[in-house]
């Protein structure tokens, strides 16, 4: 079982005295750290700009702060602080989207849709962007981020991806895609909350005798260029799927590589198509309305193979 974030923080803090936590009304996530090392967990109030500035200052003092807020707000309200104080400053700060990645809070309305989190974080030079898909990958990303020198973003995830081997047999290498399924009909690439949709689509297609490759792109930056190149070379169709705007996120990252390589492999980007998801509905409803589902992947593949 993956360790919860709070426990991993305590463990990392025991190994490295530079590790500390800063919370923007996310205290629960660093309360264990506060208990173990009072003073190394700091609450800054509901104030994302303050959160990042304070974390930058801690980094000036050689600390390694993990700065936590809610995904849409910790990537948007303080974007310039992240860009200038962390990116330009090359500060060793880990920005943590603690809850609400992508469309997780679909029913709470557009203010709470973190549809720009990947695009915004990708924009910043030197930023490593992790979009883990479950508890195991989250724990691994947190450990990896602590070891990376420089700013990182992690959108925390929980639960367990279906059909995975025991944790001690799984591998998480930053910047390297995880191959969840092999097939020659198409490659489906997903990150964070859409990896389950890609897995499901792989199963649905297999039932129809169509084998697709499914890649879990847990590191969106630096992206696994080799995996993208291989997909273009070995499968006649690439589909990306994200709970984010297709502008600037995973789909864009893949498109940039394909275009620059002169690849002729068609690409379909599933995600929010430059729109706000204005509707009352559950997570599943909003995803269905905007074609961010396993069924949408299946339809794309069927359309191409002419079945």
């Amino acid at each position: 079982m993956a360790k919860p974030f709070g426990e991993v923080m305590v463990e990392l803090a025991e190994q490295d005295p530079r590790i500390c936590g800063v919370s923007c009304d996310c205290w629960g996530f660093i309360a264990p750290l506060s208990e173990r090392f009072p003073g190394r967990a700091i609450e800054v109030g509901i104030a994302e700009q303050n959160l990042i500035g304070v974390a930058a200052g801690l980094a000036v003092r050689g600390k390694i702060p993990f700065a936590l807020g809610m995904n849409p707000f910790v990537t948007m309200r303080c974007f310039e602080q992240i860009r200038t104080d962390l990116g330009y400053g090359r500060r060793n700060v880990k920005v943590i989207g603690a809850y609400g990645s992508g469309l997780m809070y679909a029913g709470w309305g557009c203010t709470h849709h973190a549809m720009e989190e990947v695009a915004l974080m990708r924009l910043i030079p030197g930023m490593t962007v992790f979009m883990p898909a479950d508890g195991y990958e989250t724990e691994q990303a947190v450990r990896a981020a602590a070891a990376i020198e420089g700013p990182c973003y992690i959108a925390l995830a929980g639960g367990e991806l279906p059909g995975q081997p025991p944790e001690d047999q799984r591998r998480f290498v930053p910047g390297r895609a995880v191959r969840l399924r092999e097939g020659s009909v198409a490659t489906v690439m997903a990150c964070g909350p859409t990896v389950v949709d890609a897995i499901r689509a792989g199963e649905l297609l297999a039932e129809r005798g169509l084998a697709v490759t499914v890649l879990d792109m847990h590191t969106v930056k630096p992206i696994d260029r080799k995996a993208v190149g291989e997909a273009a070379a070995t499968t006649p169709l690439i589909i990306t799927i994200e709970e984010h705007t297709v502008i600037g996120g995973l789909g864009s990252a893949v498109a940039e590589i394909l275009a620059e390589a002169g690849s002729a492999t068609p690409l379909r980007r599933l995600g929010l198509q430059d729109v706000f998801a204005i509707m009352s509905g559950s997570h599943a409803d909003v995803k269905r309305e905007h074609g961010i589902t396993a069924e949408a992947i299946v339809a794309e593949v069927m359309g191409r193979v002419g079945a």
Binding site: D25, W27, E43, T111, H112
Partner: protein, 277 residues
């Protein structure tokens, strides 16, 4: 006169109770920011059923007073007030998450009649309210602008940018109400102390009045006295209880009631017959 006033107060208290009943019904449907919704029920009754000039049949009426729920997560209370005031049927309140519903999880100007600003990201409302007030000034209008702020929300620096600008521009049609319920996701003074809060607003140039946000007499008195000082924006610092009216969720930020809890909660606010429209 005296008895008329008493009737008004009694009527507003009953409206506040109706708002609470409907907030609880919404909390019986899905995750709901119940605590901060219940703490503003009395204030919303005073605003929508006494102070504010609005026309439910014409939500976009140019002469309306504006209301911005900066603490947009407490939209269940606002939706309840709007429905009771006649902006849409009370039955719509419990349709959240249903296809085609006009009810959103946070205040949404696109979906819900009577809402002018989409909110939910804390720290936006006061600047938007100031902008509306300054727009009204350009048009020489008489509209007033009410902005409801959370106390935890005040930790966002943008509020203080707006507070400074409102006083600078002598925006006296602008009224901010702070729902001082002493909790955000935890106790506000432990997480990031706000006190001395009244003094902060005074220092920023606002005319401040402190009231008990559950005392309808005090609410009406404050709303009738606006603007507190000509040439200054007005601040009502309303002392409230998060989750007011339902003992077992007081201080709680969120709730999603099961049937049993819903019944117990409704019993506490005395859910008799529910008024429709």
């Amino acid at each position: 006169m005296g008895s008329q006033h008493e009737a008004l107060i009694a009527d507003l208290r009953e409206t506040a109770r109706q708002i609470r009943v409907n907030v609880l019904r919404i909390a019986g449907m899905s995750d709901c920011h119940t605590g901060g919704s219940l703490s503003i029920a009395d204030l919303l009754a005073g605003l929508y059923f006494h102070a504010m000039r609005v026309d439910p049949k014409q939500p976009d009426w140019d002469g309306r007073d504006y209301f911005v729920l900066s603490k947009g997560h407490c939209v269940p209370a606002l939706d309840a007030a709007l429905a009771l005031r006649g902006f849409f049927p009370v039955e719509a309140l419990t349709t959240h998450l249903e296809p085609g519903s006009i009810i959103s999880g946070h205040a949404c100007a696109h979906l819900t009649p009577g809402i002018d600003a989409s909110t939910g990201s804390l720290g936006h409302g006061l600047s938007v309210g100031l902008g509306i007030a300054l727009g009204v000034r350009i048009d020489r209008g008489a509209n007033r602008v009410f902005v409801m702020l959370g106390d935890g929300e005040l930790q966002e620096g943008s509020n203080w940018e707006a507070a400074m600008a409102a006083a600078h521009h002598k925006a006296d049609p602008l009224v901010a109400i702070v729902d001082r319920n002493h909790y955000q996701t935890g106790p506000t003074e432990d997480m990031m102390a706000l006190e001395p809060l009244a003094e902060k607003w005074t220092a920023f140039g606002w005319a401040v009045r402190c009231i008990d946000g559950h005392d309808m007499e005090q609410i009406v008195e404050a709303l009738d006295a606006l603007p507190f000082e000509p040439g200054r924006p007005s601040l009502i610092l309303a002392d409230t209880v998060k989750g007011k009216g339902v003992s077992f969720i007081e201080t709680h930020h969120m709730a999603h009631f099961n049937a049993e809890q819903l019944e117990a909660a409704l019993a506490e606010v005395g859910a008799g017959a529910v008024r429709h429209g």
